[in-house]
Symmetry: C2
Subunit: 491 residues, 2 copies
């Protein structure tokens, strides 16, 4: 399967595109910019969803569902929001088709024009806050902690599977609070939830920080983000959490009566992660042999492949395999026993390797004689012979070990690929030769940020919340800097 597969060295971008399609994760559809998420890719997304959903509920959130369509005028209600979102979007103008009077096929019925055009949601702040106005009257209705799993559409001109698609799947949390403090705490809490998910489940280390003013979400007072480093030295924004202040409450006139009977505007947050995480997962761990999955997100954690020539050998192997499969499943490990006779063992080996299954077991007549099984781990590609008596325990340990190893490997890579830099010359040089994260002083102005971006294509990914907070001198302007910020070229 890996035959004809581009290596990362050759062309990272091509490697990614081929991997996504060949590992059956997703493919482009006939609709420009819209992807088909294939069953195997969707199964990984479902595992992400399940865990995130559990985390959201554990922090007090409920799910709800709001309309796909947003009246055009709603987008204009929050001034900075419309600038950020109203431009590249799918516009519904008609609600009926009719038979083409000049032949076959159908045409848009000119009589079925909508009075006001509808926008396919690019994000749902406006439609949700127009609803919250009805839901919030008193302090007793607060906090309102709601999440939505949905599809959204942003008419991107240049699309890439998972990383940037016209339609994508995501969750968007939208919360309302009585006080500013509570809303800020919520935005920070959800940032930590995202960071924990990325690190513990995706095995993808992230830097938590806040965006600069110019990189903020349209309508936010503060945008928190997690930033991950991909294998090609480019950064990926993996999740954002916004403190929206009272902007949307004021735009949609959402007030509550406080305990003291005073009318106040409510405070808001919104936060989201999307199928873009799939791109981050792929570009954090995978290699020239295909996908590599952390056990916690692998739809199949263990693939078992029988080696046989005759049917009686298959029967003998199956007899040994089934109790192992059962024992593993009882430990909560998902197992696929692939005894299809339509494919050869070699083909299956390649298949599960390419699809990133964390552990592969293989068993043939010789193994039965010896009471052993061959165990291969996907992260290191190491193989070993394990006694049948120990195999369940061994695989259980591997699940933890592989998860930890992938995280450690990614963390080590990030450490190697993060540079602390004090001069602009060195900054440009590192970007050219090594890439990666660059920690450097910045004077805090949008002008400097913009110039560095223009000259080097590197952007400020975030102002990190943790780490070195000492003051210094901006590498570009020489003006004072409050702390080093995180630069990188980004997806």
């Amino acid at each position: 399967m890996a035959k004809g597969f581009t290596s990362r060295e050759q062309d990272y971008s091509k490697w990614y595109n081929e991997l996504v399609v060949k590992a059956d994760l997703a493919e482009n559809s006939d609709v420009r910019g819209c992807m088909v998420i294939k069953p195997y890719g969707y199964a990984i997304w479902e595992k992400m969803q399940a865990e995130l959903d559990r985390m959201f509920k554990a922090t007090g959130h409920s799910n709800a569902y709001f309309p796909l369509f947003i009246p055009k005028s709603y987008l204009s209600k929050e001034a900075s929001h419309v600038e950020g979102f109203a431009k590249e979007c799918a516009v519904v103008t008609h609600y009926r088709l009719m038979n083409d009077p000049n032949g076959d096929g159908v045409i848009v019925d000119p009589d079925a024009k909508l009075e006001e055009e509808l926008i396919v949601r690019p994000t749902s702040e406006t439609i949700i806050w127009s609803t919250y106005k009805k839901w919030i009257q008193s302090y007793r209705d607060l906090p309102l902690l709601i999440n939505q799993w949905a599809n959204v559409v942003r008419w991107e001109m240049r699309t890439r599977l998972f990383l940037r698609t016209a339609e994508f799947l995501w969750q968007e949390g939208h919360t309302a609070h009585a006080t500013e403090k509570e809303a800020v705490e919520e935005a920070e809490l959800m940032l930590r939830v995202y960071a924990e998910f990325a690190e513990k489940h995706m095995a993808m280390p992230v830097i938590q920080g806040v965006k600069t003013t110019s990189e903020r979400f349209a309508g936010a007072l503060e945008t928190y983000c997690i930033e991950a480093l991909m294998q090609d030295g480019k950064a990926l924004q993996a999740g954002t959490s916004h403190f929206l202040g009272q902007n949307f409450a004021k735009a949609f006139d959402v007030k509550y009566a406080s305990k003291e009977g005073k009318e106040e505007f409510v405070w808001a947050t919104s936060w989201g992660v999307s199928t873009r995480l799939m791109g981050g997962l792929i570009m954090t761990h995978s290699d020239d042999h295909g996908l590599v999955l952390p056990p916690k997100l692998a739809p199949i954690q263990v693939a078992i492949i029988p080696i046989y020539r005759q049917d009686d050998q298959l029967e003998a192997v199956t007899e040994k395999v089934l109790p192992i499969k059962k024992a593993l499943e009882e430990k909560g490990i998902s197992v696929k026993y692939d005894d299809r006779d339509t494919y050869k063992p070699g083909w299956k080996f390649n298949e599960y390797e390419f699809k990133g299954v964390p552990v592969r077991l293989a068993m043939g007549p010789r193994d039965i004689e010896n009471g052993t099984v061959e165990v291969a781990r996907r992260d290191t590609l190491e193989k070993e012979i394990v006694s049948l008596d120990n195999v369940v325990e061994h695989v259980q340990k591997l699940m933890i070990e592989i998860q930890e190893n992938l995280y450690k490997r990614a963390l080590d890579y990030r450490a190697e690929t993060t540079s602390e830099i004090d001069t602009y010359a060195e900054f440009k040089d590192v970007l050219k030769t090594k890439g990666g994260f660059i920690l450097a002083h910045w004077d805090g102005t949008a002008e400097t940020e913009e110039r560095i971006k223009k000259e080097t294509k590197a952007t400020i990914r975030c102002i990190p919340l943790e780490g070195d907070k000492t003051e210094g001198i901006c590498i570009y302007s020489g003006k004072p800097s409050a702390q080093k910020v995180l630069f990188a070229k980004a997806y």
Copy 2:
């Protein structure tokens, strides 16, 4: 809370509309025909989804995701499909907005017109079959058993919350098979899955049958359905499963190489249930006190309400309640202990009653003295005093009892409200006075079906798969009839 709530007797339709909104299930949005599914309603839908998803996976299906948009020309590829679906739908014609040069707000950018209009999917056969063409080459790729959870849009003129909305949530299964026999078996299997879900989880009895030719899904050779009877004597189509023959395979040229090396068109099914099930759930069980939920789908199965005047009394009650809550949760029962001091016990009683929580426990200082707790069940509204020592076991039994009682009650109602009828005069009379299901002979022609519909508004809900199969004489035409069919007025 039930104050000012319309009774079923007064106005069933109004009762339904009020119930949906007041029980926090859903409400109309500012976008015509699109609903907001509120957190409590969505939590019920999530329980439905989880169980259906489990059942789909247990029968070998995987989830995937296909684009929201369908190129207009795709709808025309399957001749009868376009007739059924291409008409009332949301049409995307532009992909950009721009600032209005004459003032504030935004307008559609006339330069951003799509070459080919996109339709927001009303159902996904066409976009999925255009994809399956790439996925299916050989018999080894079959069967392809895929399901999608998605939103769809049908521009309905008259909408009702859950029952008929412009946008709704659903699942749509789309399968491809090597043989006709296998595809028919799949369509029948999924019908049984739907029936089992309706009866075992929703406690809603259903009749399984096939649709008449004129009621078939656009593009199907056979449409299987489950039909439920609502409390007002009207039928609700609750789920459909279609045998599509080779229609879509031919329209999208999807062939496979058989084991013998022959090229053949594949055989197809599709099947779906939607948020319409929420309407069926409500209209099967609820009463003049509000929603009634079967325990298996209740987001909160047990509400516990403390009765107290002073804080020390609350503390004493809480001390007794927490171990009960824990013990119930360990049995897999979801419990809400509502110790909010912002609402009075009477308000809470009404609240949980109106929201259909199956069991309510109440405990006050006197109960502590006596070692008892008050247990109220929502289905019968009966209350009893139960010893604290037995309460966990008692509630466990109630979960099963209430689930069974609701099903039995609905089944009894259906038996009472189903009439076997031999003359058209009686048919019209029963429809006028009693409503409900009517089993009567029909000559098998579309003409008779259409005339009966015109004259009485009753439609053939299905030709039942089970039950009396004896021949007879059509009540309308006097011509021969193969078996009695199921008539009703329907939602």
